[in-house]
Protein backbone atom coordinates (compact mmCIF):
# COMPACT_ATOMS: atom_id res chain seq x y z
CA UNK A 1 0.00 0.00 0.00
CA UNK A 2 1.31 3.44 -0.94
CA UNK A 3 1.17 6.46 1.36
CA UNK A 4 -0.96 9.39 0.13
CA UNK A 5 0.85 12.30 -1.53
CA UNK A 6 -1.86 14.94 -1.36
CA UNK A 7 -4.85 15.86 0.73
CA UNK A 8 -7.80 17.84 -0.57
CA UNK A 9 -9.32 19.77 2.32
CA UNK A 10 -12.84 20.85 1.48
CA UNK A 11 -13.08 23.43 4.21
CA UNK A 12 -16.65 24.53 3.57
CA UNK A 13 -19.49 24.20 1.09
CA UNK A 14 -20.32 27.90 1.44
CA UNK A 15 -19.56 29.93 -1.68
CA UNK A 16 -20.79 33.23 -3.11
CA UNK A 17 -20.83 31.66 -6.58
CA UNK A 18 -23.45 29.21 -7.81
CA UNK A 19 -21.65 27.48 -10.69
CA UNK A 20 -23.88 24.84 -12.28
CA UNK A 21 -20.89 22.48 -12.69
CA UNK A 22 -19.75 22.59 -9.06
CA UNK A 23 -18.19 19.29 -7.99
CA UNK A 24 -19.75 19.55 -4.52
CA UNK A 25 -22.53 17.10 -3.69
CA UNK A 26 -26.16 18.09 -4.25
CA UNK A 27 -26.70 17.91 -0.48
CA UNK A 28 -24.41 20.63 0.86
CA UNK A 29 -23.11 20.76 4.44
CA UNK A 30 -24.10 23.81 6.49
CA UNK A 31 -21.57 25.96 8.42
CA UNK A 32 -22.67 24.43 11.73
CA UNK A 33 -21.53 20.99 10.54
CA UNK A 34 -18.01 22.05 9.49
CA UNK A 35 -14.81 20.90 11.18
CA UNK A 36 -13.21 23.58 13.37
CA UNK A 37 -9.79 25.07 12.61
CA UNK A 38 -8.38 23.06 15.55
CA UNK A 39 -9.75 19.89 14.00
CA UNK A 40 -8.23 20.83 10.64
CA UNK A 41 -4.87 21.45 12.34
CA UNK A 42 -5.02 17.92 13.71
CA UNK A 43 -5.98 16.56 10.27
CA UNK A 44 -2.97 18.26 8.67
CA UNK A 45 -0.56 16.96 11.30
CA UNK A 46 -1.89 13.43 10.74
CA UNK A 47 -1.77 13.84 6.95
CA UNK A 48 1.88 14.92 7.02
CA UNK A 49 2.75 12.04 9.34
CA UNK A 50 1.05 9.64 6.94
CA UNK A 51 3.11 10.95 4.00
CA UNK A 52 1.09 13.76 2.44
CA UNK A 53 3.21 16.54 0.94
CA UNK A 54 0.56 18.87 -0.46
CA UNK A 55 -2.62 20.34 0.99
CA UNK A 56 -5.16 21.68 -1.47
CA UNK A 57 -7.44 24.03 0.45
CA UNK A 58 -10.74 24.12 -1.33
CA UNK A 59 -14.48 24.17 -0.82
CA UNK A 60 -16.93 25.76 -1.61
CA UNK A 61 -14.97 28.91 -1.21
CA UNK A 62 -12.22 28.38 1.40
CA UNK A 63 -11.92 32.10 2.18
CA UNK A 64 -15.59 32.09 3.23
CA UNK A 65 -14.20 30.72 6.50
CA UNK A 66 -13.22 33.47 8.91
CA UNK A 67 -10.44 31.25 10.29
CA UNK A 68 -8.85 30.55 6.89
CA UNK A 69 -5.57 32.19 7.97
CA UNK A 70 -5.30 29.86 10.99
CA UNK A 71 -6.05 26.89 8.73
CA UNK A 72 -3.32 27.86 6.23
CA UNK A 73 -0.86 28.39 9.09
CA UNK A 74 -1.69 24.96 10.50
CA UNK A 75 -1.21 23.23 7.14
CA UNK A 76 2.13 24.94 6.66
CA UNK A 77 3.21 24.23 10.23
CA UNK A 78 2.58 20.55 9.54
CA UNK A 79 5.07 20.85 6.67
CA UNK A 80 2.51 20.68 3.86
CA UNK A 81 2.77 22.62 0.61
CA UNK A 82 -0.31 24.85 0.77
CA UNK A 83 -2.39 25.56 -2.30
CA UNK A 84 -5.44 27.83 -1.99
CA UNK A 85 -8.12 26.94 -4.55
CA UNK A 86 -10.32 30.01 -4.66
CA UNK A 87 -12.90 31.91 -6.68
CA UNK A 88 -11.08 35.07 -5.53
CA UNK A 89 -14.18 37.17 -4.94
CA UNK A 90 -13.58 37.49 -1.18
CA UNK A 91 -9.83 38.19 -1.40
CA UNK A 92 -8.60 41.66 -0.52
CA UNK A 93 -5.10 42.98 0.17
CA UNK A 94 -5.17 42.61 3.99
CA UNK A 95 -6.44 39.01 3.79
CA UNK A 96 -3.90 38.05 1.17
CA UNK A 97 -1.09 39.59 3.25
CA UNK A 98 -2.20 37.54 6.26
CA UNK A 99 -2.42 34.36 4.17
CA UNK A 100 1.05 34.96 2.79
CA UNK A 101 2.44 35.61 6.26
CA UNK A 102 0.83 32.34 7.36
CA UNK A 103 2.93 30.54 4.73
CA UNK A 104 0.61 30.15 1.75
CA UNK A 105 2.65 28.69 -1.14
CA UNK A 106 0.41 29.01 -4.19
CA UNK A 107 -2.95 30.32 -5.36
CA UNK A 108 -5.23 28.68 -7.90
CA UNK A 109 -7.87 31.12 -9.08
CA UNK A 110 -10.97 30.06 -11.01
CA UNK A 111 -12.61 31.92 -13.86
CA UNK A 112 -15.97 31.08 -15.39
CA UNK A 113 -15.47 32.78 -18.77
CA UNK A 114 -13.22 35.32 -20.50
CA UNK A 115 -15.56 38.29 -20.05
CA UNK A 116 -17.86 39.55 -17.31
CA UNK A 117 -21.24 38.94 -18.90
CA UNK A 118 -20.73 35.25 -19.63
CA UNK A 119 -18.72 34.66 -16.46
CA UNK A 120 -21.38 36.16 -14.23
CA UNK A 121 -24.22 34.34 -15.93
CA UNK A 122 -22.39 31.01 -15.53
CA UNK A 123 -21.13 31.67 -11.99
CA UNK A 124 -24.41 33.20 -10.88
CA UNK A 125 -22.81 36.17 -9.10
CA UNK A 126 -22.90 39.79 -10.23
CA UNK A 127 -19.59 41.67 -10.09
CA UNK A 128 -17.55 38.49 -9.68
CA UNK A 129 -15.38 38.91 -12.77
CA UNK A 130 -13.96 42.32 -11.79
CA UNK A 131 -13.23 40.99 -8.30
CA UNK A 132 -11.32 38.07 -9.81
CA UNK A 133 -9.23 40.46 -11.88
CA UNK A 134 -8.43 42.40 -8.72
CA UNK A 135 -7.59 39.19 -6.85
CA UNK A 136 -5.20 38.07 -9.61
CA UNK A 137 -3.43 41.42 -9.45
CA UNK A 138 -3.07 41.20 -5.66
CA UNK A 139 -1.65 37.68 -5.87
CA UNK A 140 0.95 38.71 -8.46
CA UNK A 141 1.86 41.90 -6.59
CA UNK A 142 2.44 39.80 -3.49
CA UNK A 143 4.91 37.68 -5.47
CA UNK A 144 2.86 34.50 -5.04
CA UNK A 145 2.69 32.05 -7.94
CA UNK A 146 -0.68 31.99 -9.67
CA UNK A 147 -2.47 29.24 -11.56
CA UNK A 148 -5.64 30.16 -13.41
CA UNK A 149 -8.30 27.48 -13.58
CA UNK A 150 -10.75 27.75 -16.46
CA UNK A 151 -13.56 25.21 -16.40
CA UNK A 152 -14.78 24.83 -19.97
CA UNK A 153 -17.99 23.46 -21.44
CA UNK A 154 -20.58 23.87 -24.17
CA UNK A 155 -21.46 27.45 -23.14
CA UNK A 156 -18.00 29.05 -22.90
CA UNK A 157 -15.70 27.08 -25.20
CA UNK A 158 -16.11 29.69 -27.94
CA UNK A 159 -14.06 31.99 -25.65
CA UNK A 160 -11.19 29.58 -24.97
CA UNK A 161 -8.58 31.67 -26.82
CA UNK A 162 -9.65 34.73 -24.85
CA UNK A 163 -9.37 32.76 -21.58
CA UNK A 164 -5.80 31.83 -22.49
CA UNK A 165 -5.08 35.52 -23.18
CA UNK A 166 -6.58 36.36 -19.80
CA UNK A 167 -4.14 33.98 -18.09
CA UNK A 168 -1.28 35.91 -19.69
CA UNK A 169 -2.80 39.28 -18.73
CA UNK A 170 -3.29 38.05 -15.15
CA UNK A 171 0.38 36.99 -14.98
CA UNK A 172 -0.42 33.34 -14.31
CA UNK A 173 2.48 30.94 -14.86
CA UNK A 174 0.07 28.04 -15.23
CA UNK A 175 -3.36 27.59 -16.72
CA UNK A 176 -5.63 24.62 -16.23
CA UNK A 177 -8.11 24.21 -19.04
CA UNK A 178 -10.45 21.72 -17.43
CA UNK A 179 -13.40 20.29 -19.27
CA UNK A 180 -16.27 19.77 -16.85
CA UNK A 181 -16.29 16.37 -15.16
CA UNK A 182 -19.81 15.10 -14.64
CA UNK A 183 -20.41 14.62 -10.92
CA UNK A 184 -22.60 16.44 -8.42
CA UNK A 185 -24.10 19.61 -9.85
CA UNK A 186 -22.36 19.10 -13.19
CA UNK A 187 -24.15 15.79 -13.70
CA UNK A 188 -27.41 17.54 -12.88
CA UNK A 189 -26.60 20.08 -15.61
CA UNK A 190 -25.00 17.72 -18.08
CA UNK A 191 -27.41 18.43 -20.92
CA UNK A 192 -26.49 22.14 -20.78
CA UNK A 193 -22.74 21.60 -20.41
CA UNK A 194 -21.57 18.71 -22.60
CA UNK A 195 -19.61 20.08 -25.55
CA UNK A 196 -20.06 18.89 -29.12
CA UNK A 197 -17.36 16.80 -30.74
CA UNK A 198 -16.50 19.80 -32.94
CA UNK A 199 -16.12 22.02 -29.85
CA UNK A 200 -13.86 19.47 -28.18
CA UNK A 201 -11.64 19.07 -31.25
CA UNK A 202 -11.35 22.85 -31.68
CA UNK A 203 -10.48 23.26 -27.97
CA UNK A 204 -7.75 20.63 -28.21
CA UNK A 205 -6.34 22.36 -31.29
CA UNK A 206 -6.35 25.77 -29.54
CA UNK A 207 -4.65 24.38 -26.42
CA UNK A 208 -1.92 22.67 -28.45
CA UNK A 209 -1.25 25.83 -30.47
CA UNK A 210 -1.16 27.99 -27.31
CA UNK A 211 1.24 25.61 -25.59
CA UNK A 212 3.69 26.00 -28.46
CA UNK A 213 3.15 29.75 -28.74
CA UNK A 214 3.61 30.52 -25.02
CA UNK A 215 6.30 27.95 -24.18
CA UNK A 216 8.47 29.20 -21.32
CA UNK A 217 5.85 31.72 -20.25
CA UNK A 218 2.67 29.76 -19.61
CA UNK A 219 2.25 26.05 -18.84
CA UNK A 220 -1.17 24.72 -19.85
CA UNK A 221 -2.64 21.64 -18.19
CA UNK A 222 -5.50 20.15 -20.17
CA UNK A 223 -8.22 17.95 -18.68
CA UNK A 224 -10.35 16.33 -21.37
CA UNK A 225 -13.97 15.20 -21.03
CA UNK A 226 -14.11 11.44 -21.09
CA UNK A 227 -17.53 11.32 -22.74
CA UNK A 228 -15.71 11.24 -26.08
CA UNK A 229 -12.92 8.93 -24.94
CA UNK A 230 -12.24 5.30 -25.79
CA UNK A 231 -10.32 4.72 -22.54
CA UNK A 232 -11.36 5.97 -19.10
CA UNK A 233 -9.30 8.44 -17.08
CA UNK A 234 -7.00 6.96 -14.40
CA UNK A 235 -9.20 8.48 -11.74
CA UNK A 236 -7.27 9.79 -8.71
CA UNK A 237 -4.30 7.70 -9.87
CA UNK A 238 -6.15 4.75 -8.39
CA UNK A 239 -8.62 4.52 -5.48
CA UNK A 240 -6.79 4.94 -2.17
CA UNK A 241 -3.47 5.04 -3.96
CA UNK A 242 -2.08 8.58 -3.68
CA UNK A 243 -4.86 10.93 -2.78
CA UNK A 244 -7.43 11.56 -0.08
CA UNK A 245 -10.09 14.18 0.49
CA UNK A 246 -11.82 15.38 3.64
CA UNK A 247 -15.35 16.77 3.36
CA UNK A 248 -16.39 19.89 5.34
CA UNK A 249 -18.06 17.58 7.88
CA UNK A 250 -14.91 15.46 8.26
CA UNK A 251 -15.66 12.43 6.11
CA UNK A 252 -12.44 10.87 4.82
CA UNK A 253 -12.83 10.14 1.10
CA UNK A 254 -10.78 8.48 -1.66
CA UNK A 255 -11.99 11.29 -3.95
CA UNK A 256 -14.09 14.39 -3.44
CA UNK A 257 -17.06 12.89 -5.31
CA UNK A 258 -17.04 9.54 -3.51
CA UNK A 259 -20.03 10.36 -1.33
CA UNK A 260 -22.15 10.28 -4.48
CA UNK A 261 -21.89 6.47 -4.36
CA UNK A 262 -25.04 5.58 -2.45
CA UNK A 263 -24.54 2.75 -0.01
CA UNK A 264 -20.85 3.36 0.71
CA UNK A 265 -19.99 4.39 4.25
CA UNK A 266 -16.93 6.56 4.79
CA UNK A 267 -14.93 6.98 8.01
CA UNK A 268 -15.18 10.34 9.79
CA UNK A 269 -12.08 12.02 11.18
CA UNK A 270 -13.94 12.82 14.40
CA UNK A 271 -14.09 9.12 15.21
CA UNK A 272 -11.02 7.59 13.56
CA UNK A 273 -7.39 8.38 12.81
CA UNK A 274 -6.40 9.33 9.29
CA UNK A 275 -4.02 6.37 9.18
CA UNK A 276 -6.77 3.92 10.17
CA UNK A 277 -9.07 5.45 7.54
CA UNK A 278 -6.39 5.14 4.85
CA UNK A 279 -5.03 1.73 5.74
CA UNK A 280 -7.89 -0.18 7.31
CA UNK A 281 -11.28 1.23 6.36
CA UNK A 282 -13.57 -0.81 4.14
CA UNK A 283 -14.20 2.26 2.01
CA UNK A 284 -10.54 2.76 1.08
CA UNK A 285 -9.86 -0.94 0.61
CA UNK A 286 -12.99 -1.58 -1.46
CA UNK A 287 -11.47 -0.55 -4.83
CA UNK A 288 -7.78 -0.64 -4.06
CA UNK A 289 -5.49 -2.57 -6.39
CA UNK A 290 -6.91 -4.85 -9.09
CA UNK A 291 -8.54 -7.77 -7.21
CA UNK A 292 -11.97 -6.07 -7.09
CA UNK A 293 -12.07 -5.53 -10.83
CA UNK A 294 -14.85 -6.99 -12.98
CA UNK A 295 -14.56 -8.26 -16.51
CA UNK A 296 -13.37 -6.73 -18.89
CA UNK A 297 -10.85 -4.97 -16.54
CA UNK A 298 -9.60 -8.23 -14.96
CA UNK A 299 -6.41 -9.14 -16.81
CA UNK A 300 -6.70 -6.17 -19.17
CA UNK A 301 -3.37 -4.63 -20.17
CA UNK A 302 -4.76 -1.23 -19.09
CA UNK A 303 -5.85 -2.38 -15.61
CA UNK A 304 -2.92 -0.81 -13.77
CA UNK A 305 -2.82 2.22 -16.04
CA UNK A 306 -6.40 3.46 -15.72
CA UNK A 307 -7.57 1.35 -12.74
CA UNK A 308 -10.88 0.63 -14.46
CA UNK A 309 -11.63 4.36 -14.61
CA UNK A 310 -13.83 6.23 -12.19
CA UNK A 311 -15.96 4.49 -9.54
CA UNK A 312 -18.24 7.49 -9.13
CA UNK A 313 -18.89 7.65 -12.85
CA UNK A 314 -19.65 3.92 -13.03
CA UNK A 315 -22.17 4.41 -10.22
CA UNK A 316 -23.65 7.60 -11.64
CA UNK A 317 -24.16 6.24 -15.15
CA UNK A 318 -24.97 2.58 -14.66
CA UNK A 319 -25.73 2.30 -10.95
CA UNK A 320 -22.81 0.00 -10.09
CA UNK A 321 -19.65 1.45 -8.54
CA UNK A 322 -17.83 -1.87 -9.08
CA UNK A 323 -18.42 -1.90 -12.83
CA UNK A 324 -15.94 -0.86 -15.51
CA UNK A 325 -16.24 2.89 -16.09
CA UNK A 326 -18.55 3.17 -19.13
CA UNK A 327 -16.09 5.70 -20.59
CA UNK A 328 -14.08 2.62 -21.58
CA UNK A 329 -14.95 1.33 -25.05
CA UNK A 330 -14.63 -2.21 -23.64
CA UNK A 331 -17.49 -1.59 -21.21
CA UNK A 332 -20.77 -3.22 -22.28
CA UNK A 333 -22.42 0.08 -21.24
CA UNK A 334 -20.23 2.39 -23.34
CA UNK A 335 -23.26 3.50 -25.37
CA UNK A 336 -24.70 5.48 -22.43
CA UNK A 337 -22.15 8.21 -23.14
CA UNK A 338 -23.27 8.59 -26.73
CA UNK A 339 -26.87 8.81 -25.51
CA UNK A 340 -25.94 11.61 -23.11
CA UNK A 341 -24.17 13.47 -25.91
CA UNK A 342 -27.24 13.09 -28.13
CA UNK A 343 -29.42 14.66 -25.41
CA UNK A 344 -27.19 17.71 -24.86
CA UNK A 345 -28.42 21.04 -26.13
CA UNK A 346 -29.87 24.29 -24.87
CA UNK A 347 -31.08 23.17 -21.44
CA UNK A 348 -31.25 25.88 -18.73
CA UNK A 349 -28.87 25.75 -15.74
CA UNK A 350 -29.87 24.46 -12.35
CA UNK A 351 -27.72 26.70 -10.13
CA UNK A 352 -25.92 25.28 -7.13
CA UNK A 353 -27.62 26.13 -3.83
CA UNK A 354 -28.27 24.80 -0.37
CA UNK A 355 -31.44 22.74 -0.49
CA UNK A 356 -34.56 24.05 1.23
CA UNK A 357 -34.97 20.69 2.92
CA UNK A 358 -31.77 21.22 4.93
CA UNK A 359 -32.38 24.73 6.23
Amino acid sequence: MNAPLAILAELTHRCPLRCPYCSNPLELTRASGELTSAEWADVFAQAAELGCLQAHLSGGEPTARRDIVDIVAAARAAGLYTNLITAGVLLDAPLLARLQAAGLDHVQLSIQDAEAEGAERIGGMKGAHARKQAAARLVREAGLPLTLNAVVHRQNLHNLSAMIELALVFGAARLEVAHVQYYGWALENRAALLPTRAQLDEATRIVEAARAQHKGRLVIDYVVPDYYAARPKPCMGGWGNRFLAISPAGNVLPCHAAESIIGMVFPNIRSTSLRAAWEESDAFNRFRGTAWMPSPCQGCEHAERDFGGCRCQAFALIGDAAATDPACALSPHHAVLASAIAEAGDAAFVYREFSAAQS
Binding site: A3, N83, H106, Q108, A173
Partner: protein, 85 residues
Protein backbone atom coordinates in the same frame (compact mmCIF):
# COMPACT_ATOMS: atom_id res chain seq x y z
CA UNK B 1 24.79 35.90 -8.97
CA UNK B 2 22.77 34.63 -6.02
CA UNK B 3 20.63 31.59 -6.94
CA UNK B 4 17.16 31.70 -5.42
CA UNK B 5 14.15 29.43 -5.47
CA UNK B 6 11.44 30.52 -7.89
CA UNK B 7 8.21 31.78 -6.26
CA UNK B 8 6.26 28.91 -4.76
CA UNK B 9 9.18 26.48 -4.93
CA UNK B 10 10.90 24.93 -1.95
CA UNK B 11 12.99 21.95 -0.97
CA UNK B 12 11.20 19.65 1.44
CA UNK B 13 12.30 16.58 3.35
CA UNK B 14 9.78 13.81 2.74
CA UNK B 15 10.15 11.93 6.02
CA UNK B 16 7.65 9.20 5.18
CA UNK B 17 9.68 8.17 2.12
CA UNK B 18 13.15 9.19 3.41
CA UNK B 19 13.94 11.46 0.47
CA UNK B 20 14.07 15.10 -0.53
CA UNK B 21 11.52 16.57 -2.92
CA UNK B 22 11.28 19.88 -4.72
CA UNK B 23 7.77 21.20 -4.13
CA UNK B 24 6.40 23.56 -6.77
CA UNK B 25 3.00 24.87 -7.87
CA UNK B 26 0.86 21.90 -8.96
CA UNK B 27 3.89 19.60 -9.23
CA UNK B 28 6.82 18.08 -7.40
CA UNK B 29 9.99 16.33 -8.47
CA UNK B 30 12.76 14.35 -6.88
CA UNK B 31 16.19 15.95 -7.36
CA UNK B 32 19.14 13.72 -8.21
CA UNK B 33 22.16 13.70 -5.88
CA UNK B 34 24.00 16.53 -7.61
CA UNK B 35 20.92 18.74 -7.77
CA UNK B 36 20.23 18.07 -4.10
CA UNK B 37 23.78 19.09 -3.08
CA UNK B 38 23.28 22.41 -4.87
CA UNK B 39 19.71 23.04 -3.72
CA UNK B 40 20.61 22.47 -0.08
CA UNK B 41 23.02 25.41 -0.36
CA UNK B 42 20.51 27.76 -1.98
CA UNK B 43 19.55 30.06 0.87
CA UNK B 44 19.16 33.45 -0.80
CA UNK B 45 22.45 34.60 0.75
CA UNK B 46 25.15 32.41 -0.84
CA UNK B 47 26.20 33.44 -4.34
CA UNK B 48 27.30 30.96 -6.99
CA UNK B 49 30.97 31.20 -5.93
CA UNK B 50 30.11 30.52 -2.30
CA UNK B 51 28.09 27.45 -3.31
CA UNK B 52 31.01 26.21 -5.42
CA UNK B 53 33.45 26.84 -2.55
CA UNK B 54 31.28 24.89 -0.14
CA UNK B 55 31.11 21.90 -2.49
CA UNK B 56 34.85 22.02 -3.27
CA UNK B 57 35.45 21.72 0.44
CA UNK B 58 32.85 19.02 0.98
CA UNK B 59 34.02 16.78 -1.85
CA UNK B 60 37.72 17.72 -1.85
CA UNK B 61 37.54 17.98 -5.63
CA UNK B 62 39.23 20.36 -8.10
CA UNK B 63 37.44 23.72 -8.23
CA UNK B 64 37.12 23.85 -12.03
CA UNK B 65 35.38 20.45 -12.09
CA UNK B 66 32.92 21.41 -9.32
CA UNK B 67 32.33 24.86 -10.84
CA UNK B 68 31.40 23.39 -14.22
CA UNK B 69 29.02 20.91 -12.59
CA UNK B 70 27.36 23.55 -10.42
CA UNK B 71 26.90 26.03 -13.28
CA UNK B 72 25.34 23.35 -15.47
CA UNK B 73 23.09 22.23 -12.63
CA UNK B 74 21.93 25.75 -11.79
CA UNK B 75 21.14 26.35 -15.48
CA UNK B 76 19.19 23.09 -15.61
CA UNK B 77 17.23 23.84 -12.42
CA UNK B 78 16.45 27.31 -13.76
CA UNK B 79 15.15 25.83 -17.01
CA UNK B 80 12.98 23.47 -15.02
CA UNK B 81 11.50 26.40 -13.08
CA UNK B 82 12.92 25.45 -9.68
CA UNK B 83 15.36 28.36 -9.48
CA UNK B 84 14.82 31.93 -10.56
CA UNK B 85 16.49 33.15 -13.73
Amino acid sequence: MIPRFAPGVRLHHDKARARWVVMAPERMFIPDETALEVLQLVDGARDLDAIIDALVEKFAAPRDVIAADVRAMVADLTNRGALQA
